[in-house]
Symmetry: C2
Subunit: 407 residues, 2 copies
C-alpha cells in the first residue's frame, strides 16, 4: 500500500522539509527546545492537522497526533524529534514521519479504526543539549521531571522548555494535554549498528534492549623519571592499566556473543613522554541482554582490580551507570514476525545495543521496535544513510502492525 506513489512522495516531502531546517550545518541539528526543534515540531503538528488528526502538546513539548477510534483505547507509534550535534537524518525523525505516514495511509484506506491511533513525537532522547536522556518519554510515561539542568550556554532546562513549549501550545487548534498511556507502543528506528546491513536483512525485530553498566576505574601508582627508575622499581599506572584492559578483553572474548566491552575514555597523568605515569582514569562500558552475564563481568572487573593491587598500586572501581536490560512484549514481537513473513521481507530478531524511548515506554505499556538497516552501521553522524527501499519496508511493517492492532 505504501508503494503507492503519492504516499511515498508525501513522506519524502515531509522528510525533506524537516531536514532542511538544518541547512547550512554539516549534519542535522535539532537539539531539544532549539529554534530548529521548535520549527520541526510545529511542522509536524501541521502535517497532522492537514489529515485531520487531533494535535496535543504536553508541558515537555512531546507532540501527540491522534486519529480517534471507536473506543478510547490507544495504539501508539513514534520516536523522538531531537538529534545529537551534527547528527544524521534518520535517527528519530524516521520513526516520527514513518509513523505519521502509516497512520495517514491507514486512515485513507480503512477509515476510522476501532482503537485510537496515536503518533508520538518525543521532545528529547539524545541527551545532547542537557545532561539527561529520554526526558520526553520519561515525562510522558513516568511523570518524571528532568531536574535542574543547564546547557553550555547558560540556558536552564526549564527556561528553554517553557519558551519552546509556549510556542507550540500557542499554535492553532493545539490542545495542551498529557494524554493517557497507550495499550501498546511501537517504535520504528534505524539500526545504529551494522548487523542488518551485514546480514542483508531488511527488518530487525527487536526483542529488547541490552542492560548497560559503566564504571570509572582509577589506578594510582607512582610518577617517576623514565630514564633513571629501574624497571623493577616502578609503579607504572599505565602498565597496570594495560594489564587490566588485556585481562578484561580476554574475559569478554570468552563470554563471546552478545557482550560488548568498551574502554572509550582513558586519561593518563601527568601524560609526559619522559615521566612514568603516576595515575590513570578510564571508563568501562559493558552491555548484554542478560543481567547474569553482566554480573559475571562485574565480578571479573572486581577480581582483576584486586589482583593488580600490590601495596604500591591501588585500583578503585566506581560503577556510575546500571541500566537493567529491557525485554519487549513477546506477543507484539511474534505478530511482527508473522507480518514480515507475510510481506516476504528478510528479517532477524535482535537485541538493541543502544537505548531508545522504547526502553522507557516498555516500563508502562507493551512495547516493540522495528529496525531498518543503516549503511555501514553508521549513526550519530552526517553520513548516516538508509536507502529508500529499506525505509519503505520499515513503514510497511509498522503499518501492518498498527492495522492488525487497531482495526
Amino acid at each position: 500500500m505504501i508503494r503507492e506513489t503519492n504516499d511515498w512522495l508525501t513522506f519524502k516531502h515531509q522528510f525533506l522539509q524537516i531536514i532542511q531546517l538544518s541547512d547550512g550545518t554539516e549534519g542535522q541539528n535539532r537539539l531539544v527546545y532549539s529554534p530548529n526543534w521548535i520549527a520541526a515540531q510545529s511542522e509536524l503538528i501541521g502535517f497532522g492537522q492537514q489529515i485531520g488528526l487531533t494535535s496535543m502538546v504536553d508541558t515537555y513539548g512531546n507532540v501527540y497526533l491522534d486519529l480517534p477510534g471507536k473506543d478510547d483505547q490507544v495504539i501508539a507509534a513514534g520516536s523522538h524529534m531531537d538529534t545529537v550535534v551534527n547528527g544524521g537524518k534518520y535517527d528519530g525523525l524516521y520513526g516520527v514521519l514513518g509513523g505519521l505516514q502509516a497512520i495517514r495511509t491507514l486512515k485513507k484506506q480503512l477509515g476510522t479504526p476501532q482503537h485510537t491511533l496515536r503518533l508520538i513525537s518525543f521532545s528529547e532522547e539524545e541527551g545532547s543539549r542537557f545532561n539527561a536522556t529520554f526526558t520526553g518519554s520519561k515525562f510522558y510515561a513516568l511523570h518524571e521531571s528532568a531536574g535542574s539542568l543547564e546547557d553550555g550556554t547558560g540556558w536552564t532546562f526549564d527556561d528553554a522548555r517553557q519558551q519552546a513549549v509556549t510556542r507550540l501550545q500557542s499554535l492553532k487548534n493545539v490542545l495542551i494535554k498529557h494524554p493517557s498511556l497507550p495499550k501498546s507502543f511501537t517504535e520504528l528506528h534505524i539500526e545504529q549498528g551494522p548487523r542488518l546491513i551485514n546480514n542483508h536483512a531488511q527488518i530487525g525485530l527487536v526483542a529488547g534492549i541490552v542492560g548497560q553498566r559503566r564504571w570509572l576505574i582509577t589506578i594510582q601508582g607512582e610518577s617517576n623519571h623514565a630514564g633513571t627508575t629501574p624497571m623493577n622499581n616502578r609503579h607504572d599506572a599505565l602498565q597496570t592499566t594495560v594489564t587490566m584492559i588485556s585481562k578484561l578483553a580476554e574475559f569478554a572474548q570468552q563470554i563471546g556473543d552478545g557482550l560488548t566491552f568498551t574502554v572509550g575514555q582513558l586519561n593518563v597523568i601527568p601524560n609526559a613522554a619522559n615521566v612514568i605515569p603516576g595515575k590513570t582514569q578510564f571508563t568501562i562500558d559493558a552491555r548484554h541482554a542478560d543481567n547474569q552475564v553482566l554480573d559475571q563481568f562485574e565480578q571479573a572487573i572486581n577480581k582483576t582490580s584486586d589482583q593488580l593491587e600490590d601495596g604500591q598500586i591501588t585500583v578503585t572501581t566506581e560503577q556510575y551507570v546500571k541500566d537493567e536490560p529491557a525485554t519487549f512484549d513477546a506477543t507484539l514481537l511474534s505478530q511482527n514476525e508473522q507480518i514480515v513473513q507475510r510481506l516476504g521481507l528478510t528479517s532477524q530478531v535482535m537485541v538493541s545495543g543502544a537505548g531508545h524511548d522504547s526502553y522507557v515506554m516498555n516500563q508502562v505499556s507493551p512495547t516493540t521496535m522495528i529496525f531498518v538497516p543503516s549503511e555501514g552501521g553508521i549513526s550519530h553522524a552526517p553520513n548516516e544513510y538508509t536507502c529508500s527501499a529499506d525505509l519503505k519496508a520499515g513503514i510497511e511493517v509498522l503499518m501492518a502492525s498498527l492495522q492488525a492492532q487497531a482495526y
Copy 2:
C-alpha cells in the same frame, strides 16, 4: 679535609643563600635567565671572587671561575645553575657549589696548582623554560646556538639571554670571555634514581649515559557506537594500543637489565565513555647503554606495528629522539675508583639513565661523573633530598680527583 668544620659551613651557607632565592614557592625555581637565576649566578661570581678566583661570563651566561695554575691546561668541574619548575634543591646546584668547595679547599691547603682549576656553572640544562636542553654546555663545548625559541610568556630566548647576560657581565671584575676547552671535566651530581640508595652505596662512579630513543605512535582505527557495534566488527584503536604496549612490555622484560621502556603519554580520540576509540597517539621512551639493544627494541616496535595492521587499523611510528649512548673516559673512571677505595667509601659503577651536561662535555674532553644517593630516588621535585654525609663524601671524592689531576 672537607670534614673541617669551616669548609663545610661555607658550603652549607652558600647552598642556603642560593636556595633561599626561591623562597615563597613550593620547590626551587631558577629557570634560565629568570631573576632568580640571575641572582644565583651573581652570588656565585661573588663566592668565587671572595676566594680570589678569576670570573668569566660568556654570551650564554655560563659562569667560569678559574684558579690559575702554573700552566694554562685546564682541569674543570661543574654542573648547571638552572632548575625545573618547582624543582629540588640539589639537582645542578650541588655540583656547582660542591665543585667550588673542592677548589676552595685545595687552594687553601695546597696553593697554586700545576694546571688551572676551573669551576663551570652552566646556564641551562633542564629545558624547562625554552624547548631546548643543554643550551649552556652546547654553547661552550660545541659553539652551538639554541636557535629561535620562545617561552610561554612571549619572551624569546635571545631577548631573555641578552637581558640576563648583560646583568652578569656588568658585575665588577667579570671578564666577558668564552674560555678554551678543558683537559678534563668532572660533574658531581645527585643520582636521579634509587639505585645507590637501595644498594646502600655512597658513591656512584658513572661509566656513561644511556642512549635514548623516542617514538610517537599513531594508531588509526574507526570510531563507533559502544553499544551497537558487535565486537567482531570493531577497529578499536585503544584495544590495539593495549595489545602493542603489552607485546613491547613483554619484549622489554626479556631483554631485562638495563633497558627502560616507558609509555608516558597516551591520548585517546574522541575519548568518550560510549564511543569506541577511533584513534590513539602515544609515546615510547626506550633507553639502554648499548646501541645494539636499542636497535633490537626498535625492530620489535616495527615488527609489532606491522603485525597489528590489518587493513582497518593503521599503525604509524615516528622516531623523534635518537641520542647515542655516551661512554665516559676510562682513565678518569678508574682513577675515581681508586680514590673511592682509598677513602673507604662504598660505591658502584653505573650508567646514568638521564642526560647531563657531561653528555655534551664528553664530546670534546675526557669526562667523568660522580653520583651521590638521593633519598627515594626522587628528583625534579621539592622533596628531593641527600643527607649531609653523602653530600660531603661526594665533594671529598671530587676534591681528591681534582688534586690528583691538577697538582
